[in-house]
Symmetry: C2
Subunit: 348 residues, 2 copies
């Protein structure tokens, strides 16, 4: 029933306004000093025809799409929305837009999106997925467009990287627990394939050592960075090491899982067990009690990534020196951490 009319073109507008397409183009772009009369005619024609310039044609001509590709691991992972949101905002105010690709933890899909976006001739690439094959990092360095890596540290950093001070962040978390009097603490780590997970494990160990805790007696269990892994880890950990009073988690999803596991094990948080996460994703505020955590500046990361790309595009002659930006993390004390319970309470 609805007839879909083909969109009108710049030529339609030019004909109706009685001018050339070049004039229409100039008037619309605000270039030159057109006669008021001409402007009026063009504007009238544009309105009458409901004309909207085709960005496809414009992109072909200008060799610029004003689009950035953003590759993330998983759109359902609560870590990403804030990153995506601020990246999108920053891009939008600068006249760019973002196209998103979620790899769903599969390397071949990262390649798929890299190719798709390159074929679409995006002006720049932001890669915030940890699940990327080593060759892909190499490819990025020679990609036809500038790129920036976020929240991951490729072993060979040939592109600029924006990430958090993961080691310092988890140190903050660990020191918070130790400051609360906890001595029997444990760590639920993330998969060692995640660069952030290894950095955080190192930070945890360092903080423990500095506090004089014997590194060899500290339980470390590796989870999957998700709810399920955290829950399973907590059950095992609390069964094998019932005297643990504080758990430092690789990330918030793990911590939320640990909370569920602890509850199942009959532990009450924070009365007889303190739990601290890392990242400060939205769910951290939604669980009860709300999760104490160390926040990553996710919004800042997205904004910086976009601004970096725009800077590179605007300064094509500037030599390209890959740098690593490590943003500080921020302790946010909420409801899942408290003073270490008196020793007697458990040992009787």
């Amino acid at each position: 029933m609805t007839e879909r009319a083909a969109p009108s073109t710049i030529r339609d507008v030019a004909n109706r306004a009685g001018v050339s397409t070049a004039t229409v183009s100039r008037v619309l772009a605000g270039i030159g000093h057109p006669k008021a009369e001409t402007v009026a005619a063009v504007v009238a024609a544009v309105e009458a025809l409901d004309y909207r310039p085709s960005s496809v044609a414009r992109s072909l001509r200008m060799k610029r799409t004003y689009t950035f590709g953003l590759i993330i691991t998983d759109i359902a992972n609560p870590f990403f929305p804030e990153l995506v949101k601020t990246a999108d905002d920053a891009a939008r105010v600068a006249g760019y837009s973002i196209v998103l690709g979620s790899t769903d933890y599969e390397e071949h899909r990262a390649v798929h999106y890299l190719e798709l976006m390159t074929d679409r001739r995006v002006d720049g690439l932001i890669v915030a997925s940890s699940q990327v094959a080593a060759e892909a990092w190499a490819w990025l360095a020679h990609a036809p467009v500038p790129s920036v890596v976020v929240n991951v540290e490729p072993t060979v950093a040939t592109t600029t990287v924006i990430t958090s001070d993961n080691e310092g962040g988890i140190r903050l978390a660990t020191e918070h627990l130790i400051g609360l009097g906890h001595r029997q603490i444990a760590h639920v780590a993330g998969p060692s394939s995640f660069t952030a997970a290894t950095a955080r494990l190192a930070g945890f160990r360092a903080a423990c050592a500095e506090a004089g805790l014997d590194p060899d007696t500290i339980p470390v269990i590796t989870g999957d960075g998700q709810f399920g892994g955290g829950e399973a880890a907590a059950r095992r950990l609390l069964a094998e090491h019932p005297d643990v009073t504080g758990i430092v988690c690789y990330n918030d999803m793990t911590a939320v899982g640990v909370l569920a596991g602890a509850r199942a094990a009959g532990r009450s948080v924070p009365a007889d067990l303190s739990v601290i996460g890392c990242d400060d994703i939205s769910v951290a505020s939604w669980v009860s009690p709300a999760l104490t955590t160390v926040a990553q500046q996710k919004g800042e990361m997205g904004r910086l990534a976009v601004e970096y790309l725009i800077h590179v595009l605007d300064n094509p002659d500037e030599p390209h020196v890959p740098e690593v930006v490590r943003l500080p993390m921020i302790l946010r004390v909420r409801g899942t951490t408290g003073p270490a319970p008196a020793t007697g309470a458990r040992s009787r």
Copy 2:
């Protein structure tokens, strides 16, 4: 340091292979019966030059971008990821891709994305945002491309709509509580501007009436469909109506907020208060105890929307009759609902 070479073009490939651009195009598209020799030459040139066809140029020529625009309300709202994910999957297997626009609950941003996507000449539009101005719905009907509305019911349905049986779903939830023996039940509704919220309120009222509960005595508080609104609603509700034993919530985010509010009010779930949500978003499984809810088939909605668009595009001559598809919802009993506590327990 890195020189960014301009991408090679079909002309480069043609020259290197010693054939015409037409031949390259045909070989790559698998059209006609090229000599084996020609194919080999073209393939070799493509590899040597690392040639990737420009989708920009192709789109201009074919007047097809193989892209759908998907407009959602808020990428940080856990309702959307599953929808986006399945839509993306369905699109990808069909050779399309999805560009996303998140309106952040602002009507003018919906318009922005509608224009942006139209300018980009997407082949179809999926609108899954409730925050859309009335004119936008009208515009959709005459848009240059086919569209489908998901999870919202515009008052004048001029496009095909895919949604859930919200009324039936909340009825399931209410009946579940009543079946558990609850008689003092309440509802935390969503904003009346959301079509799903009014449908759910109606379903709740209907189920109560059918069970013989006096509609005039049933407390209904309106929240904002978010955590904060649910938390505030629970505090007020439990203060004003301390004898309530079961709360049916507009959606899961509200329910998670209600859980926090109930905890703050000293109520223990599900022992002396049952809470049930609606949607089955991921956080429902992450809170402890896990939230009982009624699931929307979000994945199915995304898949159906994409398939509908592809169908319309593939059958341009078929008359377009807007239809409304209402998917059934599914009760998922988890940990926040239980038998109504004995009356005496509260009144003493």
